[in-house]
Symmetry: C2
Subunit: 267 residues, 2 copies
């Protein structure tokens, strides 16, 4: 007998982004009453997952992939059958390869989705006419050329920021302890302004759409486009992929959901 | 050695409200980096928890308290030490007594907080000068006089709506399959308007503050007051109680958090 699969979300990297993925799973599910929604286990355990960017930059030695794999196994033990982590940077090969080898070694049976592959598939499907994409990301994903790597055989050219802009505008918008998105969980005007400057630089390099390639960035930009340039949200792509794997009939049609107004403020 | 306790959230009743509780736990936690946040397991399994109001109205025989207790035990098995369910109506004694007796019978060791008791404590602490409170709730909580019961020894008078207004304005704002908060997860203008009418009725009966006594209602009213009348959010009270039990040093001061602007739209 067919039944819906149980979803598992490794939600602590970072926690506001984890909450945002669960929110998007709920929003993208066809449901009229509580009981229509899928079973999701949200595992928020940030203290054991060291910062992904610090590891990729060589500042810390401990690979966060081990803790992520351990949490995936805890999720599987609790019943999860399709698992993902809404952290783009955790998909850089030096980390993601460790996650995969640890899960293989442990004989994990759950399916572990790859957020970047799902985003690349989403782009090919929903934005087939785009030739040049701009990427906003952490410095860890930037240095490891995460999106260029996954999009290199797609025929899409990926443009990135210069390293000075990456460090002064984008890294701080995500990580600053006073106004960064990780610290306050939403859009401080300064973080938003800095990311907007980054977007403008990418557009000036020819970008026709922007990948918000760090899962904190959609918390500052919930809208689906800015000044006519589409904003591509990997968290939304991952939410839809998770629903598709758990219960394809419950996935909202993309056109309908794409036409929904962007989280309007209360009137 | 002292360590933070792991929180468990029974998040499927309803799921948007469950995710809102987790969001409020994150917002009320003193944290500057991902790793500062508490460990939270969010258990979204709505399909086994039948509607609380339908049971309380006698329309369905199965008491949802059994499924809620089973999910609490699953959370404890996964590591949760302090557990709560952000559903006011599930705290009506016919349901909550079953949860408690099931957990006692199973020898559960985790602490299960009572959302309504925590809200009553929050009101005594933060709103000591209020004499008359108005309550918005589901019809299940309304019929079982949930808030009047928990506040009866507090010296606070509780005013409620007439049954016609309860049925036509409040129940539909929560449950309508087209515009109700449970169906769309946020504030449809019609749901918000109906709840606002309910608030005005309560104010005309002398209410000095309003308890948003169904966990979907704060999704439509994120602001802390409306037309000068404080809106008391039991989900926020529960979030703060959970942090207090898990790691008191990480609870943000109330005055500071109370002064934060109400979830502003992106500028």
């Amino acid at each position: 007998m067919y039944r819906d699969k149980t979803l598992g979300v490794i939600a602590g990297a970072g926690p506001f982004a984890g909450n945002n993925l669960i929110q998007k799973i709920l929003e993208q599910t066809e449901a009229f009453v509580d009981q229509d929604h899928l079973t999701i286990i949200g595992w928020f355990q940030p203290n054991t997952i060291l910062d992904r960017t610090e590891f990729l930059l060589g500042n810390w030695q401990d690979n966060p992939g081990y803790a992520i794999a351990a949490q995936a196994l805890a999720l599987e033990k609790a019943g999860a059958e399709v698992i993902a982590i809404p952290c783009n940077t955790a998909h850089a090969p030096p980390i993601f390869n460790v996650i995969q080898s640890e899960l293989n070694h442990a004989g994990a049976g759950a399916l572990f989705l790859n957020m970047i592959e799902e985003t690349a598939a989403f782009i090919r499907e929903q934005f087939p006419d785009i030739n040049i994409l701009g990427v906003l990301s952490t410095t860890g994903a930037y240095r490891t050329r995460l999106y260029p790597y996954f999009l290199e055989n797609s025929g899409i050219e990926v443009v990135s920021l210069g390293e000075d802009i990456q460090n002064t505008l984008i890294h701080t918008a995500i990580y600053d302890p006073d106004y960064g998105i990780k610290a306050i969980g939403k859009a401080h005007p300064r973080a938003r302004q800095q990311l907007l400057e980054g977007i403008k630089h990418l557009v000036s390099q020819g970008a026709e759409a922007i990948i918000m390639g760090c899962s904190e960035i959609p918390l500052a930009f919930p809208e689906s486009e800015v000044e006519g340039i589409p904003l591509i949200d990997p968290t939304l792509a991952l939410a839809r992929a998770l629903i598709h794997h758990a219960s394809p009939d419950k996935l909202k049609p993309w056109l309908a959901s794409g036409k929904q107004p962007d989280t309007p403020p209360p009137s």
